[in-house]
Subunit: 140 residues, 2 copies
């Protein structure tokens, strides 16, 4: 399943956003990397391919794409907000120890009818398996 820049451009247009270079680059990166980068990590990766890219531009782009519901964000990480594609809505698990973020494939609850909801965020927080086993080592 290959997604070209043209495909992404068309998808953005469909969502009502003009497919600028940076916007396509951000979406493409997120399609190819299923991590949940902070804006800074996103910038660090993209600037290698697009020298001269500004951190502010990445912030602007993320905001635009969140507004047009292409992206969603996970708030509350100490390192700053994390970015994810909004397609195939899913929940997230965040480890309070190491900050790792994992996708949880599950249906999101429907909001009450009378509310006009554009984004639903479901975040489970706790300790991931990895950090739990490290904790056990310390005790032993």
């Amino acid at each position: 399943m290959i997604t070209t820049n043209v495909d992404i451009s068309l998808q953005l247009r469909r969502e009502g956003v003009r497919p600028s270079v940076t916007r396509v680059a951000v979406v493409k990166y997120l399609m190819e990397h299923h991590n949940h980068p902070t804006v800074d990590e996103l910038y660090a990766h993209l600037v290698e391919q697009y020298p001269g890219l500004s951190r502010t531009t990445v912030y602007n782009t993320v905001h635009t794409l969140v507004d047009s519901r292409v992206l969603t964000t996970i708030e509350g990480s100490p390192e700053g907000m994390r970015v994810d594609l909004a397609c195939n809505p899913h929940a997230h698990f965040v480890c309070d120890v190491c900050g790792a973020v994992a996708d949880i494939a599950m249906e999101l609850p429907e909001p009450p009818d009378q509310l006009s909801v554009t984004r639903t965020q479901l975040v489970f927080r706790g300790v991931c398996c990895n950090c739990k086993s490290i904790d056990k080592e310390k005790i032993n």
Copy 2:
């Protein structure tokens, strides 16, 4: 349904937290005010009753009470994290225009079994009725 400081102290002890003055004050404030204050708003209200209270202390207290699952936070407001009591778990609706936060009485989804989850956050985002009608006025 009156809740005295003694009641709150006992409740905190039950949750494994020593009921310091500030901790009781924070819980009491949140029980009496069903708004969702930022740490700064919380501080502003409490400092009137406890002169000399430090903003840092409110931050410390909130962290302690979140760790011991007495409080929960709503992340992602531009004004900073908002604080709420963790009892009677419920969802939140946040208006992207005015930032207002409303409680939504509904069951929270159960996390997958294998995860050890200590906090579940369900946030609906959109435009509240108020801001929607203001928007209509502008159009007319």
